[in-house]
């Protein structure tokens, strides 16, 4: 099967052309030691099967960038199993000189090539009419005008690829003469000088607004708020469906299989664990769809331009703002969207700090602890809630500054950003981008995350503890003839809580909690809170359900009732468990700690190593512990001083 490698500058419409040719029959390929990826698709063109490799957009082959290296290796035939038979060079008609210069740099490889000329409509609108036939005659290689967005010319291009038209570029020596490219352009188009004249007045006006220091920042913040509002509202329903589907699957499995290890593994370990990750799929799909649309309009580059000023103070590029903001919905899409950042150090720093941003999974814990802290003052509760978000963002930016001055030291790539022309977005490209990211996410959920869920299930389920005598007594009481249905439910529920608590305390996770408790004692945590904190390292939302089981309170949607019950919980010495110091230190801990295994798994995938999730985990845990300890100590000290006076 012939293999064609698509190469071209960024923003020339290469991906939309690839999507037109291959559609959903494409897969993303990562390469060892690199986060750069290419897309590989198979298609049938004019009745012939063809494999197409969509390489990342680059400005030049010889730059010291991972994208350029990948293209060099592919074009040079150094990627095993991916040596191309021909090159499809995608050239932007509005920027013909740069495109042809790039084509010449590829010609040295002596591979057969053909040119796909894109953006011809935009060039025409700017007063440049290009004749692909003339250009083809000038260059001596096939040139086909094709538009991946509208599909115009794609059939002709497919025919050119399939009919093995590509030939090696024959004018290599002549092409190095001064002004050669200009002569080719002049021989093929209506006049290169007319490019970029009065047709840019709209772009000028839009740029004036979108790149203005204040107005541009305001536009960007408003747009991002709209994006996140859309994510939360649009994703809510499909998330409910996914939860319901997994719940139904769990119930079906539980009722179909006999009780035992396999039942528990499937229901509690695999289905329960994977559903906790897959439930975020709608958020991820919608975020990437919207980001792809925004990027396609040409606006995203302007947003990066505006934010660069702020972010560079913390050693980050302007584009880092998007992953960090996305992480407020969920760190998983946030980390995945860090691929927008071209510099590897900038990208790594952004990935490492993204989980500091308060994600939606933290909200439930924040609400509970803030209500325990400020039961009578909604104003203070609101202030504390906002403070949690601010604390996470400040910790992220300061961490970025520290990392960039220490082990991620090195000159950042200063902003040299192409601002692509404004265009109406292509929904087809956005859909394919979203689909591609979603598939990557699901593969991750089915691999590392599944393995982690099984391990966590095992340490929580074993060794198995028998139900405590009180639970047995309650169940026996429930079976008595004089027990009415309401009492039956209450007895059964209480027995279930006691059994769960006994299992939790007797499990390896529980044993670990008790042995680790002295470490958490300076934060004010007893053994029950320690177990709750440890189990929430799987996912922070687990804290609420664990703590309600351990405190023998009933979980429910009513935050007020749960908070009220927890506020009454006492330690062994009778003092309140959730005193101000402990509640505040717990809140600070949850703002800053890395308590999400799926996030660690995604970090591992995006960085290609377990080293960086380890750095992320230990750094965030250390910061969280220290900040929580300081919070507890200061509140205890101030309470003692005020008590003395």
């Amino acid at each position: 099967m012939p293999r064609i490698a698509m190469v071209g500058n960024p923003n020339v419409g290469k991906t939309s052309l690839f999507n037109r040719l291959c559609g959903l029959r494409a897969k993303t390929a990562n390469f060892p030691g690199s986060t750069v990826e290419a897309h590989i698709g198979k298609c049938t063109l004019a009745g012939k099967p063809v494999e197409i490799i969509d390489l990342p957009g680059i400005y030049a082959m010889d730059l010291a960038l991972p994208e350029s290296k990948l293209c060099r290796d592919c074009v040079g035939g150094r990627l095993e199993g991916l040596e191309p038979d021909a090159l499809l060079v995608v050239v932007d008609a509005t920027n013909l000189q740069r495109g042809l210069r790039f084509m010449l740099s590829l010609a040295a490889s002596r591979r057969s090539m053909l040119i796909a000329l894109t953006m011809t409509d935009l060039a025409t609108a700017r007063g440049v009419s290009i004749d692909p036939v003339k250009l083809s005659a000038e260059l001596g290689i096939p040139v086909v005008a094709a538009n991946g967005r509208s599909g115009e010319g794609v059939a002709l291009l497919a025919h050119a690829i399939a009919s093995a038209c590509p030939v090696p570029f024959a004018h290599l020596e002549a092409a190095h003469a001064p002004g050669w490219i200009d002569r080719q352009i002049e021989g093929s188009v209506g006049g290169a000088q007319s490019i970029g004249t009065d047709a840019d007045s709209l772009a000028d006006r839009l740029d004036s607004a979108f790149t203005h220091p204040l107005l541009g920042t305001l536009c960007f913040v408003l747009l991002m708020i709209a994006v996140f509002y859309a994510i939360f509202t649009l994703a809510a329903l499909p998330m409910d469906w996914i939860e319901a589907a997994f719940a139904a699957l769990g119930s079906f499995t539980a009722s179909t299989l006999p009780e035992g290890v396999l039942n528990s593994l499937l229901v509690d370990g695999i289905i329960g664990g994977v559903s906790g990750t897959v439930v975020f799929l709608p958020q991820i799909a919608i975020l990437f769809f919207l980001l792809a649309l925004i990027e396609d309009t040409g606006y995203l580059a302007r947003a990066a331009f505006v934010m660069d000023r702020l972010m560079c103070k913390f050693g980050l590029p302007g584009t880092a703002f998007i992953p960090l903001l996305s992480s407020h919905a969920c760190a998983l899409p946030g980390i995945m969207s860090a691929r927008l950042i071209p510099d590897p150090r900038d990208r790594l720093a952004t990935i490492l700090i993204a989980p500091f941003m308060s994600c939606s999974a933290r909200v439930g814990v924040y609400v509970l602890l803030v209500m325990i802290l400020f039961p009578e003052s909604p104003f203070l509760a609101g202030l504390a809630f906002a403070g949690c978000y601010a604390l996470g963002a400040i910790a992220a930016l300061l961490t970025a500054l520290l990392f960039r001055k220490t082990f991620l030291r090195g000159k950042s790539r200063p902003m040299m950003l192409e601002l692509p022309p404004y265009r109406f977005p292509c929904f087809r490209t956005a859909f394919y981008t979203s689909y591609d990211r979603s598939v990557v996410f699901l593969k991750n959920a089915g691999g590392v995350i599944l393995a982690i869920c099984i391990v966590m299930w095992w340490i929580s389920a074993y060794p198995q503890s028998p139900p405590p005598p009180q639970a047995e007594a309650l169940r026996a009481q429930a079976q008595l003839p004089e027990t009415n249905p309401e009492q039956f439910d209450a007895f059964e529920l209480e027995a279930e809580v006691l059994t769960s608590r006994a299992q939790q305390q007797g499990s390896y996770a529980g044993m670990l909690g008790r042995s680790v408790q002295p470490v958490f004692a300076p934060l004010g945590l007893d053994d029950r809170l320690t177990v709750a904190v440890l189990t929430s390292f799987l996912a922070r939302e687990v804290f609420r359900s664990t703590i309600t089981v351990l405190m023998e309170t009933s979980d429910g949607d009513d935050d007020d009732r749960v908070a009220d019950q927890l506020r009454k919980a006492t330690r062994d010495d009778g003092t309140p468990l959730f005193d101000t110091a402990t509640s505040a230190s717990l809140l600070v801990f949850f703002v800053l700690a890395m308590q999400c295994l799926p996030t660690l798994a995604v970090t591992r995938r995006e960085t290609g190593s377990w080293k960086w999730p380890a750095v992320q985990f230990f750094w965030m845990s250390a910061v969280a512990y220290l900040a929580a300890f300081l919070t507890h100590t200061l509140i205890v000290a101030s309470t003692t001083v005020s008590g003395l006076t």
């Binding site: 400005y59 030049a60 010889d62 730059l63 010291a64 509005t94 920027n95 000189q97 740069r98 210069r101 790039f102 010449l104 740099s105 700017r126 190095h176 001064p178 002004g179 490219i181 200009d182 290169a192 000088q193 490019i195 970029g196 840019d200 772009a203 000028d204 740029d207 004036s208 790149t211 220091p213 580059a301 990066a304 331009f305 660069d308 000023r309 560079c312 790539r413 200063p414 902003m415 040299m416 950003l417 192409e418 601002l419 022309p421």
Partner: protein, 104 residues
């Protein structure tokens, strides 16, 4: 560009960094004082010696600028704009830039 001794802009008052140019100014790039990697990246993007550009958004002391070269618009960090020296022109340059050649 980087292989040659840089000209001192004070010695040639017409030579000014892009960061000092105003919106609407047209200029011809004469020299860059960036490292080889950044110079090569800019050249690949279309900004090289002898190319003519227009300032679309002027650079402040801490703010980036936008320049247009043919149909390409580039956003440049202030530290980049400060190291690109150009002369303001009143008519279009008649010596087309060739970004594939070593620049001086």
């Amino acid at each position: 560009m980087t292989d040659h001794a840089p000209q001192n802009p004070l010695a040639n008052p017409a030579l000014r960094p892009l960061s000092e140019l105003r919106r609407g100014d047209r200029a011809i790039v004469r020299e860059t004082r960036l490292d080889a990697e950044h110079t090569a990246t800019l050249a690949a993007m279309g900004l090289c010696a002898s190319c003519e550009l227009t300032i679309c958004r002027a650079s402040g002391s801490m703010s980036p600028c936008i320049v247009q070269i043919d149909a390409t618009r580039l956003g440049l960090a202030p530290e980049v704009a400060q190291k690109i020296l150009a002369t303001i022109v009143t008519k279009p340059c008649d010596c087309p830039a060739d970004c594939t050649r070593p620049q001086d």
